[in-house]
C-alpha cells in the first residue's frame, strides 16, 4: 500500500501533539507515511463557504501531488481536511466541476479525473492495520480508564461522500479504545457539533455546544474525552474554561487525541506523544483510572474475603453437624 500523508496546517501549530502522536503511533504499528511534497492548505470551511471550485482547487493540488509520488491513498488526521479532500474528489466526477477547478489550477483538468482515494488516519488504522493486530501490540493496557469517544460532526458525514462507519453512531473509535483496554462509556453526543471555528467570532455558540458535550461526558462518569479532530480538541480542551457547564458544575476533563492513547498503550514514551501539550492535565485522567482500578481490586478482595468467610462458616457448621450425629 502506498499511503500519502496530509498533515494539515493545525498540525504545525495548535494540534502539534496530534501530529506527533499520529506519527509515533503509525511508526509503532509499522504504517509508513509519505508526506505529500510541499503540501498546501485545503482551504477548510472559509473556502467551501466562499466557492466550491476554489475549495476544490486548493484540495486538488494536494491530491495531484500525492498521485505524483505514486500514492493511491491519502491519509489525514484532520476531519476538516478529510472532508474537503474527499468532497473535492467526489465532485470531480462531474465534468463541469472538473473543468471549473481545472481553470483555477496550473495543471490541466485531465489530471483531476483520477485522483487518489482519501481516508482518515483512524480509518487507516482500523481497516488497514486492524484491531486484532493493534490488540496484539498493546504493551500497557489502558486499564480502568473510562473514556467518552467523541468523533466530531464531519468525519462520517455526509455518508455518501465520507463512506466510513455509521454517520450517526460511529463505533470505530469505541472499538479501538476497547482493544487498548479502556472502558468506553455510553456517550450520546458522538457526532454532535462542538461549535467548530466559531470560538473566535461567536464564543457564545461554542460555550454552549462544547459545554453540552463536556457535561454529558462528566455525567457519564468519563475520566476523559477522546477526540479525532484538532478543532474539537481545541474547543473542548483549550476553551474548557469558557464553556457553559450544564448545571453549572465544572470539572477538569482531560481531552486526548485518540492517537495519544493509542501510542501510550503501544508503549510509546509520553515525550513522543505530546501529552504535556494538552491544556487540562492528562495526569488527572490517569489518576482517576488508577483509583478506579484500586477501588475495583479492593472491592474484589472484599468480595473474596466475604466468600471465604462464608465458606469457612459453612464448613464449621457442617463439621458441627457431623459431630452432633456422632
Amino acid at each position: 500500500m502506498n499511503l500519502a500523508y496530509y498533515p494539515g496546517c493545525s498540525g504545525l501549530g495548535t494540534s502539534r501533539e496530534y501530529e506527533r502522536s499520529t506519527r509515533a503511533a503509525c511508526t509503532a504499528l509499522g504504517v509508513k507515511l509519505t508526506d505529500i511534497p510541499d503540501w498546501s492548505c485545503c482551504g477548510s470551511t472559509p473556502a467551501h463557504a466562499l466557492e466550491h471550485a476554489l475549495s476544490g482547487a486548493l484540495s486538488a493540488r494536494n491530491l495531484v501531488g500525492a498521485a505524483k509520488v505514486g500514492c493511491d491513498t491519502v491519509a489525514t488526521p484532520c476531519p476538516s481536511c478529510l472532508s474537503n479532500l474527499k468532497t473535492a474528489r467526489h465532485r470531480m466526477a462531474d465534468d463541469g466541476f472538473r473543468a471549473k477547478v481545472g481553470r483555477l489550477l496550473d495543471q490541466p483538468a485531465e489530471k483531476l479525473a483520477d485522483l487518489p482515494d482519501v481516508q482518515s488516519v483512524l480509518e487507516t488504522l482500523v481497516t488497514r492495520v486492524g484491531l486484532d493486530a493493534i490488540r496484539a501490540k498493546v504493551r500497557q493496557p489502558l486499564a480502568g480508564l473510562r473514556v467518552a469517544p467523541y468523533y466530531g460532526c464531519i468525519m462520517t458525514r455526509p455518508a455518501d461522500v465520507m463512506r466510513f462507519d455509521d454517520p450517526e453512531n460511529p463505533t470505530s473509535m469505541d472499538d479501538l479504545l476497547t482493544a487498548l483496554g479502556a472502558e468506553v462509556v455510553p456517550f450520546p453526543y458522538k457526532v454532535e457539533c462542538c461549535g467548530a471555528s466559531y470560538g473566535v467570532t461567536r464564543r457564545d455558540i461554542v460555550a454552549r455546544l462544547s459545554g453540552r458535550l463536556l457535561g454529558a461526558a462528566r455525567d457519564a462518569g468519563a475520566h476523559a474525552v477522546v477526540v479525532a479532530c484538532p478543532l474539537c480538541q481545541m474547543n473542548l480542551d483549550l476553551r474548557q474554561t469558557q464553556v457553559e457547564w450544564p448545571g453549572g458544575r465544572a470539572v477538569d476533563m482531560p481531552v486526548f487525541y485518540f492517537t495519544q492513547l493509542l501510542g501510550r498503550a503501544l508503549g510509546v514514551p509520553d515525550a513522543e506523544l505530546g501529552l504535556e501539550q494538552l491544556c487540562v492535565d492528562p495526569a488527572i485522567a490517569f489518576r482517576r483510572a488508577a483509583q478506579a482500578v484500586a477501588a475495583r481490586q479492593a472491592e474484589e478482595a472484599a468480595l473474596a474475603a466475604k466468600a471465604a468467610a462464608k465458606a469457612a462458616q459453612a464448613k464449621q457448621a457442617a463439621s458441627a453437624n457431623e459431630g452432633g450425629r456422632a
Binding site: L12, S15, S40, C41, A49, R61, L104, L238
Partner: protein, 186 residues
C-alpha cells in the same frame, strides 16, 4: 401580523440559481422539520433551517440572504444526514453563502471577516498561519480582547508558531486565488 403575498415576492431566477449551484431539488422538501430538530445551532438562528427551505421554495430571496442563520450554520451536516428526501441541506446553506457573498450581503460580519483573514493567510503563505489569522481578524474588527483569557493557557504549551510555515509553491496558491477572482468578475 406579517402578511406576504407570495406571488409578488417570488424570485424564480433565485430559485433556479440555488437549485443549479447546489444540485439539489428544493421542491422535494415537505417541511417535516427534521433538519431544524437536529440543528445544533438553531438556538442562535433568526430563521430555522426548515423555514429557510420553505422560503427558498417561495423564492423569498431577501428573507433568506439577509438572514443571520446562513452565516451561523456550522456545516455539521446533521440536516443532510437526517433529511428523509435526501436533500443535501448543508450544501444548500453553503450555496446561499456563495450567492450572498457575491451580492455583498453579510448579516454576520464577524464570521466572514474571520474567514477572509483565514483565506488571506492561505493565499500569502500557502498554509494557514494561526497567529496571523487572529491578528488580522483583530485588526479588521477592533475586537482586541478576543480570547485574551486563553493566552496564559496556551502560551506555555509551545504550540503556537511564532512564524508562518511558507511553502515553495506559494505563487501557485496565489495564482489559484487570482484566477478565482478573475472568474468571479467575468
Amino acid at each position: 401580523m406579517d402578511v406576504t403575498n407570495l406571488e409578488s415576492v417570488r424570485d424564480d431566477d433565485f430559485i433556479h440559481a440555488v437549485m443549479e449551484e447546489s444540485g439539489q431539488d428544493l421542491t422535494h422538501c415537505y417541511q417535516c422539520g427534521n433538519c431544524t430538530a437536529g440543528c445544533p445551532c438553531g438556538f442562535a438562528y433568526d430563521i430555522q433551517v426548515s423555514q429557510i427551505m420553505r422560503n427558498l421554495q417561495a423564492g423569498r430571496k431577501d428573507k433568506v440572504l439577509n438572514s443571520r442563520s446562513i452565516w451561523l450554520c456550522l456545516s455539521c451536516s446533521s440536516c443532510t444526514t437526517r433529511c428523509p428526501n435526501n436533500i443535501d441541506v448543508a450544501r444548500v446553506m453553503d450555496v446561499l453563502r456563495h450567492i450572498a457573498r457575491r451580492e455583498g450581503r453579510v448579516a454576520e460580519r464577524g464570521v466572514t471577516t474571520f474567514w477572509d483573514a483565514f483565506l488571506a493567510s492561505v493565499r500569502k503563505h500557502g498554509r494557514v498561519y494561526e497567529l496571523g489569522v487572529v491578528a488580522n481578524y483583530v485588526a479588521r474588527t477592533g475586537r482586541v480582547w478576543t480570547d485574551i483569557d486563553l493566552l496564559p493557557r496556551i502560551a506555555p504549551k509551545g504550540k503556537l508558531s511564532p512564524m508562518p510555515h511558507g511553502i515553495q509553491g506559494r505563487d501557485e496558491i496565489a495564482r489559484i486565488f487570482q484566477r478565482y477572482e478573475e472568474e468571479r468578475t467575468r
